[in-house]
Symmetry: C2
Subunit: 268 residues, 2 copies
Amino acid sequence: MNHPIGVIDSGVGGLTVVHELMRQLPKEKLIYIGDTLRCPYGPRPKKEVKKFTWEMVRFLLKKNIKMLIVACNTATAFALTELQENLDIPVLGVIQPGARSAIKATQTNHIGIIGTEGTIRSEAYPIALKSIKANISVSALACPLFVPMVEQGILSGEQAENVISDSLQTINKDDDMDTLILGCTHYPLIKETIQKVMGKDVTLISSSEETARETSTILDVHHLLNIEEKIPNHQFYATGNLNIFTKISQSIFKYENLGKLTIENVKI
Amino acid sequence: MNHPIGVIDSGVGGLTVVHELMRQLPKEKLIYIGDTLRCPYGPRPKKEVKKFTWEMVRFLLKKNIKMLIVACNTATAFALTELQENLDIPVLGVIQPGARSAIKATQTNHIGIIGTEGTIRSEAYPIALKSIKANISVSALACPLFVPMVEQGILSGEQAENVISDSLQTINKDDDMDTLILGCTHYPLIKETIQKVMGKDVTLISSSEETARETSTILDVHHLLNIEEKIPNHQFYATGNLNIFTKISQSIFKYENLGKLTIENVKI
């Protein structure tokens, strides 16, 4: 089925999910909207996050999407169940794929999770992990500086390293924790530095990679995979200024030929 | 939902899927049947494999299973589509999860696949891989000695190493191949030796681990996950002699407390 997959995020973080979708499902057309004007969602109250999320979803539904991916952990934590109950297309968030992959990866049954204040406060990851496997222990830490840093385009270098190493100090002391979920789709953009700070013995789980992987499974189960061989035309929309959005898009996609791409500003 | 998950295999190989299901989905009750009397399926004609597969499936359907896992690559290659079309419960084979995971893992887009003659002859993996991502190149190799060796309980040591290293000689020369799918559920039992022969730069994909991971996704999508906290009573059946079946079960499950377990012989 050649209808597009819709992807929503509070800003640029969801582009890491898009990148993985392009890599793992190169035949699928993607329509992305990032609410860069009102990013970050992390510190906002639940009610407001839900309202903004629905505004993006309504925009995408008009474009005839066959599946919706909530590529924002905060929006997943606050709005996923409501979206799943109200839409008649498959809706996948970024929390369950990360949780399932971490359960697969851990040998010590001690999993760490870093995310925005909203994601951590919601306890969505511990709930998801423990509902599947009761004896998992979880260390959770909010990293409120990471998203604003990434949205400014600071992805590496001394400043990034200092912010990351200071922020992770508490969680870094948990010795038997062998798996750390990057519980925010912005974090794969600073994954290398996080890995350096955590050490190589900790497996980092990218909710972006895992969400793309599960999108493949879910499209297959629902017989929705696109079998056409045409190169897809992807459409990206951002509610705010396009400068940094375009710069970060380029830094994610520059080395690869992943289909055609248009970037537009939009009011929702 | 507390109904059991049904798992079928030609012999003991599917126990590696069962082990991963117990580890990744510890609340789920499992009913396993291994057709050890007529193993291996690899060299048998398609029609016969389909007949044997349906006999196992009918046995499990009487036990009210909520989902069926075809934990045998040969049976998946020959019978999966027919089972999916004829059963009203979700049916998952071991080929798609391995293929999707390999696409996620590869950076060079060159994937290797080893399996039984039946699996390799069916071309099920190349078809699955290329239908998702057209520019993947695939090197496939049948390893007819691995299943009989494992079914005799020979999992390590010099004899195993010689058989494995001789068998893998051809595929081992493909330099840019960075990912190798263990396209037979018996192979995780000899994974360490395969890794040693292939070298550490090749990522081995265990179709067993990946199938368990996707079972978790599919149960979630269909709202079939068990939320009860009771320790499950698993039931294992084998059509042949129980001696080696029990010995291999013990070698897979010995270190862990993964729920209660009964093993019985059965005629189908």
